[in-house]
């Protein structure tokens, strides 16, 4: 029984780390532009699929990964430049539909560039499961957790200690004030999209060996990452991580102990519950509306 519990927890934390990375991407873009980027999941897909393609051509894995992240970053910049920037100031509905359109477009292109099949990426350091407390964990899961921790550390340093990071934070709190302080907010916006895309791609690459990847893997991951971001409090970095991990664990426990058929529904039930009962999530800002 405990072995089962440990197993579910390990699975949950692994996928939760992925949700956390995706949620961080959402948080970054939301903070920079108040846009919910429905195409976030597509960055995840691009990361995984590009790495698979490049690795299949014989490139060494680390190089393939680096190039894939770069490719996703470029896509993120393009998205900002061609889809979001032209629609500055548009209504919420408009912006939502634009990013949804971008998501469909990217998936359509992916379908053309690759195909609709599932693809496997080989695990970074092999698939021999490691025994832990009566359960097993894949080496790839350790990669997922390790890289996620590293990412969190780097981002904390970046936002806390570097000028660029602080500029991004400033711009997200008050765009006008940041502009007046000499911060190039357009650059900040582009940076946020680029960083967000890189995070998404990284998530996609890390998880691909475990769950396989395909042209539409981004849809569910994106939506669940979004649910995690809302759970943690939209716009909060810590919230994204806590939300992601929580969602992953609840999902794994739910799938294991309650019903595995409805595993995917769990994230959306949580989403609805959060929106109804705790709209600002765990760490989000509680705002009062002014008339």
């Amino acid at each position: 029984m405990t072995a089962q519990l440990v197993q579910y927890l390990l699975t949950g934390v692994t996928i939760g780390a992925i949700y956390a990375l995706v949620a961080l991407g959402f948080a970054l873009i939301y903070n920079a532009s108040h846009v919910i980027n429905f195409a976030q999941g597509e960055f995840v897909m691009i990361g995984g699929m590009t790495t698979v393609s490049l690795a299949n051509t014989g490139l060494p894995l680390p190089l393939a990964i680096a190039l894939a992240v770069a490719a996703a970053t470029l896509v993120g910049l393009a998205l900002e430049k061609f889809a979001v920037e032209p629609a500055r100031g548009a209504s919420v509905v408009t912006l939502i539909i634009i990013t949804i359109g971008a998501s469909i477009f990217l998936r359509g292109v992916a379908q053309m560039v690759w195909d609709k099949k599932l693809h496997a990426l080989r695990a970074f350091t092999g698939d021999e499961p490691i025994a832990v407390l009566g359960a097993t964990i894949l080496p790839q899961s350790l990669w997922v957790l390790g890289v996620t921790v590293l990412v969190v550390v780097v981002l904390t340093w970046f936002f806390g200690r570097t000028l660029a990071g602080k500029a991004i934070l400033a711009a997200s709190h008050n765009r006008l004030a940041a502009q007046l302080s000499g911060i190039n907010v357009r650059l900040v916006l582009a940076l946020s999209f680029a960083l967000s895309a890189a995070l998404g791609a990284l998530a996609g690459i890390l998880i691909a060996p475990i769950t396989l990847t395909s042209y539409d893997v981004g849809v569910m991951l994106g939506l669940k990452g979004f649910a995690a971001a809302i759970l943690g409090g939209m716009g909060s970095g810590i919230g994204a991580i806590v939300g992601g991990l929580s969602l992953g664990i609840v999902e794994a426990l739910g799938a294991g102990f309650v019903s595995s058929a409805y595993k995917d529904a769990i994230a959306f039930v949580i989403l609805l519950a959060v929106l109804f009962f705790l709209p600002s999530g765990f760490f989000g800002a509680r705002g009062a509306e002014r008339v």
Partner: protein, 314 residues
Amino acid sequence: MSPWRSGCSGGLAALAAIIALLPLALVNNYTYEVAILVGLNAIVCVGLNLLIGYAGQISLGHAGFFGLGAYGSAILTARYGWPSAAALAATTAAVGLLAWAVGRPILRLRGHSLAMATLGLGIIISIVINTEDRYTGGPDGMSVPPFALAGLTLAGERVWYWVVGALLLASVWLALNLIDSPAGRALRALHGSEVAAQVSGVDAARHKLLAFVISATFASVAGSLVAHYSGFITPSKVSFLHSVELVTMVVFGGLASTFGAVVGAAVLTTLPQLLTALKEYEMAVFGAILMATMIFFPRGFVPTLAAWLARVRR
């Protein structure tokens, strides 16, 4: 005043004329089928437009209501042998009730939160339908007996064309009536300025819920009819993508324009048919259209076109 504004009985007559004369241009069963699908999508869009264009809300989960209508009718007739009309009535009532129950908490949300909540709802419905395969046939779908009323079976493209045409006219008529009424003005006022509407006595929650329930009901009826018409229903009709397609049609046709919604449905239902040759590119093109429309024609393609034509004519 723009001719695309709602409330013109001239428009209703024009639509009736188009429906009556269109068969002259429909050469074979396939074209009839497209026309029927256009009509059914248009019914959903007219309802959805009330919610998005007039009441100013958003729903990214309307395929859920459509799917519930389809599967409700399908299951009641195929698995339980209910008469089609009774199944349709019961399903519509049930979906309306669900929309009423879920709508109350959901519509307290705004903007992104509302969008995501409706999205979540739609996906949950989709997952349930996919999973409960004992009733729904799961991802493979299920077959649906034809629609029968008083011993007469609705079969054949031509018969369905007139049925759908009549129902579309009825939906448009109802929608126009709603818009040009105190409740309709209340809805539009909410969209214009929610606080000003409230201090004028408009109960925001009640009216948003009204728009939500009516649009859900339209979607459900259309869904039931699609199930009977096609003889078959699959979960793809309940997917997030389908919800997005519906919103695209409404937005493309022009928000706050009932006839625009019909045009939007017409254009975006026939377009994929035209693109069938380019099956591979369909998704990318669809996404590109969606983005381009919202970036360059945020008021909708049709109203922007109409305004441009009006300027050119001067």
